[in-house]
Amino acid sequence: MSARTEAGAASPTLELRDVAKSFGAVAALRSGTLEVSPGSIHALVGENGAGKSTLVKIVAGVHRRDAGTFRLLGTDVDFGSTAESKAAGVAVIYQEPTLFPDLSVAENIFMGRHPLRAGRRIDRPQMYAESEALFSRLGVHIDPRRPARGLSIADQQIIEIAKAISLDAALLVMDEPTAALSGVEVDRLFAVARSLRDEGRALVFISHRFDEVFALCDMVTVMRDGQYVSTDAVAETSVEQIVARMVGREVAELFPKVPAEVGDVVLEVEGLNRAGVFHDVSFQVRAGEIVALAGLVGAGRSEIARAVFGVDRYDAGRVALAGRPLPQRRPRAAIAAGMAFVPEDRRQQGLVIEGTIARNVASVIRTRLDRFGLLTARAENKAAGPWAGRLEVKTSALDMRAATMSGGNQQKVVLAKWLATEPKLLIIDEPTRGIDVGTKAEVHRLLSDLAGRGLAILMISSELPEVLGMADRVLVVHEGRIAAELDRDQATPESVMHAATGSVTPLSQEVTA
């Protein structure tokens, strides 16, 4: 201790050295090293599965480390629970908001730490006032009395942030806090993060968006395969350098869609209509083609896809696959006809999250695998093996549970599950959301490869570069209508934006002028 004070420099708020953690045979973290100084914002970047989330959970007290040094504010610590880490001054904002839907917004912020009046009774007026003060500091208005149920993801994230701020923590860890936020909300979050930094707190910021890392952070630590790679001052490094360290190789091409031979019409949608949701939607997807549904979030893209697949009803219109009309509201018929659907929210809709990888991959084709109505683990493994191998799912065994995998690997498992049905048409909603750069390129290569083999692909994406890079044709959806159909050479950022916003001013001319 005396040596530290003699050194004069501020001791780091958080100090992790060679921290390791294994789950069974899988080493999630081999040697995690991270040093965060007070009054700085430290970015932690790495591919999915690099061990960032495991590192965060060790700091938060969710997991206990197997080995290594863990110091907080200069003291050796070993948290056995989240309550301990909280008490020591650590606040964590998780990737997925963790709220109590039945309870009020204010209670979600103050649960377990409610302001009290005489007799240790909860002081609700005080709690609401403090919540409102927190929200006004964040520049938002959320009624602290309303239940958390029904809040948008962005509002839920804001509640998490308000909670973290109210903890008055010395160390604030944010695990991809901006994934669900819009531009103005991100700016607001950054303003708050900077003011916390200026108060002398230490912040750890995990993100896949490099523009944000470079805009916000002072230092950046790169992790790869559960190991520490490097730490640099943000000012002294570049995106190319960091990406190269993250993937351990140069990223050649981010969106490598190879032109494929376009075949017959696979999907034909005619005059699809659902009051208040989408109107007069007609389009075709041919074999070997990737067609993107672009547009603003909330324009109705996912709803169209769900109706085509038969999950949601529609009032009028026709959906045909390979010339055969499909009944509505019958996903099973759509699957039998050769349609596959990878939803946006893979945890909730795409995976049996508690199931093994083999079970997940084999789940759609189990009627084909069973023998006298019985399904063996062996049959599942046999069917799942080749697909998992082809998609390079990084796991030690097929009997691992899906919940323990990284987001990128989960996406691959969902893809493997559907590809095992040998579909004619693949509908994929936000194929690379929450997936890091390296895996993104792999997913893109895979989609391109599948199209090359004659699969028809309908892709929904909010990432413009992905749309422009991958799609042979772009259908731009605006307020439930297809506002424009653009061929690959017509599709530019300007033309897509113009159609997506339905702006009256001819934006593309302004921009190109």
Binding site: G112, L254, H498
Partner: protein, 375 residues
């Protein structure tokens, strides 16, 4: 993804100031009354009593009728209150019927075999109930087996202990000291003592659930157990306490049983656990935890007991009496579902109102940027 047709797209990039989502206080009060399950069930109860009274005025106004109307629900109220504390944490306690039987018999035996003063007997019986609840709680929190299964097991075990202890023996009214059995008949301002005690217990538990940190934590645990762990809430301890409370209240209900009926045979409290769960559900306690109040459960318990005595007066035969109770439970669940859907829609709508006008200028379709675009 939310539906945005005809409405402004969610969260445009430069929606500058977001409107407050606060409903006006008047709207909130009105909404609260309309959505108040306690009030709705209370009105059904009053209607039932009123209709029955028109058929037989002694049902309410006779001195016996009045007394029965008030005293009969007291045992089920205690059990429903205890059940609510457990259900709110996304658990269930099916062993309360056996706990009641066992503690009722214990109460009788203490009077027969020992000369313990009445207050001490009551304390011992309540502690015994708490002990049985503690066993449930330990098994649930450390066994990592759903409480439905655990307490189904202890339901049979506790009943088995009772049977092998009591055999064909029974406690008779003559064994009970007069001072104690008069508790079952004494009144305070025409309200039976047992009812007063039950209502006081309900009031205290309800007050604690609403105004103490640990009470609110019970709701949080039931609302989302995983989130409760991440919050660092003492989940195991709270759930354990909930089971102890349920057991203690079942023990008190056992004491009530002796005071009310005087005799205890080996089928005392048989099947009453399902009535307790039914009362809580009818009273608006969500079976998956996180919401509901003990007042609601108590009103639900009163309604269930009153139906059983009212329907014969109304000349409805035995089969239909049971069917009515079943229909009531199904109706309560259906109502919950409808209200939940409506509330969800309303909350989403309230949220979308917050989003402000669409941007005047064209915006890019997404806010995410590819790597390499910024450096």
């Amino acid at each position: 993804m939310t539906v945005a047709t005809g409405a402004p797209p969610p969260l445009p990039d430069d929606a500058i100031e977001l409107a407050p989502s606060a409903l006006s206080p008047a709207q909130r009060v009105l909404g609260g009354v309309l959505r108040s399950r306690e009030l709705a069930v209370g009105l059904v109860l009053l209607a039932l009593v009123a209709v029955t009274a028109t058929q037989s005025s002694s049902f309410v106004f006779g001195s016996d009728g009045w007394r029965s109307l008030l005293v009969n629900p007291s045992i089920l109220i205690l059990l429903a209150v205890g059940q609510t504390v457990v259900i709110v944490t996304r658990n269930v306690d099916l062993s309360v019927g056996s706990t009641l039987g066992l503690t009722a018999y214990l109460t009788g035996r203490l009077f027969v075999d020992t000369g313990l003063p009445t207050p001490l007997v009551i304390v011992v019986a309540v502690l015994a109930g708490a002990g049985l609840g503690f066993v449930n709680g330990i098994l649930v929190t450390f066994g990592r087996v759903p409480s439905l299964v655990i307490t189904l097991g202890t339901l049979y075990i506790y009943r088995g202990v009772f049977l092998s202890w009591a055999g064909s023996d029974r406690i008779n009214a003559g064994d009970i000291p007069d001072g104690f059995s008069s508790l079952g008949t004494e009144q305070v301002l025409t309200v039976p003592v047992l009812t007063v005690v039950a209502l006081v217990v309900m009031g205290v538990v309800g007050y604690l659930m609403h105004t103490s940190r640990s009470g609110r934590e019970l709701y949080a645990i039931g609302s989302d157990p995983d989130a409760a762990h991440l919050y660092g809430l003492p989940v195991a301890r709270r759930v354990l306490v909930a089971f102890v409370a349920s057991g203690a209240l079942a023990g008190l209900a056992g004491v009530f049983y002796v005071a009310r009926y005087g005799t205890v045979s080996s089928n005392a409290g048989f099947g009453i656990e399902l009535q307790a769960v039914g009362a809580a559900v009818i009273g608006g306690v969500a079976i998956f935890g996180g919401s509901g109040t003990v007042w609601g459960a108590a009103i639900g318990a009163t309604l269930l007991v009153t139906i059983n005595s009212a329907l014969p007066v109304l000349g409805i035969d035995d089969f239909w009496q049971r069917a009515v109770v079943g229909a009531l439970i199904l109706a309560a669940v259906a109502l919950d579902r409808v209200l939940a859907l409506r509330q969800e829609r309303r909350l989403v709508a309230a949220r979308d109102l917050d989003l402000g006008p669409p941007p005047p200028q064209a915006e890019k379709p997404s806010t995410s940027a590819s790597s390499g675009s910024a450096s």
